[in-house]
Symmetry: C2
Subunit: 491 residues, 2 copies
């Protein structure tokens, strides 16, 4: 462990990259902008996915799978959709390779050119609504409540592991409804599912809100989001839920006949979270020693390390550990016994710390004689002796305490870094000095929003829901404002 890693204070960005490497979560592949998610990182993502998937099913959604490749012409059917973002994408033009007649290797077979190019999905609204057109005739076919777990590609020139990669994994919900009200209710329900997941499982506090018009998803009438604060004070958009109005129904001509036989366009939503959540998780809790994981998402919640000199001592420890792990497994605690005799305890301690295992439990012969084990909490770095009697329940309580402590700590951090400002001068001066979220009045115009972004690099993260605010006057123009909005620099 002689390698020097950056601390957050020294170089936040390098700290992030170092941490991902130390914790063995992911790495850049040789394919520009695309990452390899390594087993430990993928195990955390799997935990997120399984929890979210259960919540989607509880709220009545079913999974399905739609094609990876989308005909180019579909993308331009919804005008603002293609304007908005669908330009930077991977284009499939050919369907065959051939041996290079001039040497080794393969070349693209020029005779195998597609009549119409196919696009690797950057999101699936278009291909899905093309199917929904066939599936929907009557109000009896509604609602359609479908989710898809998939990979998507959006070409990125500047990438960061998990936060911005050309390929990422995500889920995308796509629902169809008979009424506007029902679609808005769905949009809001899924925002709540995301917020509850973020706070309960990721221990990451979020602010729910609406995006401004200029920050909306391309093709949406309204984009809801959850925004969380990272340890450098920047905002990270952790999930979005879009009310798509009738835009895609009109683009793909999807109508249903209501109970009276009248034809109406269908109302739509879409909503998604991605492997970006991994970046949010890392930057919410981790410290200079490495990853810190909330127990609810940790692939290993408790690691046990034996401390011994002789085979006899090891035998005694093994026997005690067998009982402890059985007890923990009964209580559904994810426990690992790290009995690797090729590595010293100190090396293991650093390793498990870097990987963010919430609880470490060290056992030596003297501990056993005293009927205790040594506990180390990853979140607070406290160490203390814990009785072996009834250790299962003690550990379950400890894990719950860690989960809650991480959330409280993050709430506290956000509180300390949330500023109310009333003048643009104050905003600019403050923002220069410290990051964080700035609650300020805005006149509701694109022009003012653009000016602020241009001059300060801060954007309106959301028009918050549930943060009470008085009316006021825009900090830039002095025009009336209905309430404070959240400004921040963002990932």
């Amino acid at each position: 462990m002689s390698q020097k890693y950056a601390t957050r204070a020294e170089d936040y960005s390098k700290w992030y990259n170092d941490l991902i490497s130390r914790a063995d979560l992911a790495e850049h592949s040789d394919v520009k902008g695309m990452m390899v998610i390594k087993p430990y990182g993928y195990a955390i993502w799997e935990n997120m996915r399984d929890i979210l998937d259960a919540k989607f099913k509880e709220t009545g959604h079913q999974n399905a799978y739609f094609p990876l490749l989308i005909p180019k012409s579909y993308l331009s059917k919804e005008a603002s959709h293609i304007e908005g973002f669908a330009k930077e994408c991977a284009v499939v033009t050919h369907y065959r390779l051939m041996s290079d007649p001039n040497g080794g290797g393969v070349i693209v077979d020029p005779s195998a050119k597609l009549e119409e190019e196919l696009i690797v999905r950057p999101t699936s609204e278009t291909i899905i609504w093309n199917s929904y057109k066939k599936w929907i005739q009557s109000y009896r076919d509604l609602p359609i409540l479908i989710n898809q777990w998939a990979n998507v590609v959006r070409w990125e020139m500047k990438t960061r592991l998990f936060l911005r990669t050309s390929e990422f994994l995500w889920q995308e919900g796509h629902t169809a409804h008979a009424t506007k009200e029902e679609a808005i209710k769905e949009t809001e329900q899924m925002l709540d599912v995301y917020a509850e997941f973020a706070e309960t499982y990721m221990a990451m506090p979020v602010i729910k809100g609406h995006k401004t018009e200029s920050e909306r998803f391309a093709g949406a009438d309204d984009t809801y989001c959850i925004e969380s604060m990272m340890q450098d004070g920047k905002a990270l958009q952790a999930g979005t839920s879009h009310f798509l109005g009738q835009n895609f129904a009109k683009a793909f001509d999807v109508k249903y006949s209501d109970a009276q036989g009248k034809l109406e366009y269908v109302w739509a939503t879409s909503w998604g979270v991605s492997t970006r959540l991994m970046g949010a998780l890392i930057m919410t809790h981790s410290d200079d020693e490495g990853l810190v994981l909330p127990p609810a998402l940790a692939p290993i919640q408790v690691v046990i390390v034996p401390i011994y000199r002789t085979d006899e001592e090891l035998q005694l420890i093994n026997d005690a550990v067998a009982k402890i792990t059985a007890e923990l497994k009964d209580l559904k605690v994810k426990v690992k016994y790290d009995s690797d005799d090729q590595k010293r305890p100190g090396w293991k301690f650093a390793e498990h710390e870097a990987k963010g295992v919430p609880v470490r439990l060290a056992i030596g012969p003297r501990d056993l004689a005293n009927g205790v084990v040594e506990i180390a909490r990853r979140d607070t770095k406290e160490k203390y002796a814990m009785n072996i009697d009834n250790i299962g329940h003690s550990i379950v309580e400890l894990l719950a305490d860690i989960q809650s402590n991480l959330f409280q700590r993050a709430i506290q951090f956000r509180k300390e870094n949330m500023h109310e400002v009333d003048t643009y001068e104050e905003f600019k001066t403050q923002l220069e000095k410290v990051g964080g979220f700035y609650l300020a009045h805005w006149d509701g115009t694109k022009e003012t929003e653009a000016k602020i972004k241009e001059e300060t690099k801060a954007t309106i993260r959301c028009i918050p829901i549930g943060i009470p605010s008085e009316t006021g006057r825009c900090m830039v123009t002095g025009a009336p404002s209905k309430g404070r909005v959240v400004f921040a620099k963002a990932y």
Copy 2:
């Protein structure tokens, strides 16, 4: 239900397509060769995936994720790999679209041409071994036991839902080992995992064996497979496990230093099953009324249909059903109460039959008065009354009986359609008359294998493991044979 569906006897191929549509499993998309897996079909696939995933983890594997797009040059690094199959694939040549200057829509931005084309993965050996090169230095880094759940694309001109599609979902295991013996053991272990899954959960008997050299995976030293018999007598390869020798290690220069510090090439395996299993499942059990599902994979194991005239009757039935479903859920039975009052019982019966729900339970007022429900078994179409007392346990036993009956029925069918033949004349005449598997002697040469395939369209499905056979003489050339091999026409 006035639509006329093909029976197996009338038109097996149309029966298959009709069934997928009736059971609402999947459909062709407008993207050539690519399918949409609909919620009910996807739910079955999810069940398969979850069971397999647990088995992979039990045998020490971890999931990870590697890039979708592979640099073209990687594919030609392992010479026989590219020769074998990697030619028919989707080629990404550009990374941006632009608005068409001559009108609406978008065109490919000619300035956004990739220096090296990227291939949508047809399988991931090359991109994964390019990573393993960085991960493996010493014998301490081995074994690497990784699995990936992913989508892959292999361009197909003639497609059939689930059986042959240009995009499909699969898992691909990729392992790296220090010794040849360990790699072969892994290859065989994963074959056993597949065989056990097929027989225990899919209720589909399989023959394990080796592929002949000409049927091997491109880049493998040995391909093991499981072969199952469909109801038209054709064989379907349901899973493969490849011993890759040191071929990919040599192609990507992956060496490890052993305990003595000597550098050695790493040994490899890969193994996979795909959404093709859905086709196998359908064709093993289903009948002219629709899908027949083994309970172990059924998204709905028991459906309950109320039979009533008045609201009072319905109320009584609802109360009884509430108790029954609670009892069934306690026993982890997947039960659905189909109380939709817009559809008549007869319509529902046909619907659940088409979807292969293993057990249907109808309840009317007279049944309730007698303390019974009416059971209909999907597999045997038997109907009988079952006591409501202790119904949970009766249903659990019934589901187990159905699972076992389906397997026994498939075993019996295979037995009846497995022929031993000793002369090529007999082989050809018989094969013309009835399908099935033919156990015959073969001289072990590519030439004879090719001749048989050319003349009869039957291929060697495998050199079977565990089917005892005497030595003999090749039915074509009369040259010595070490044992009978399995011939059949195949999907």
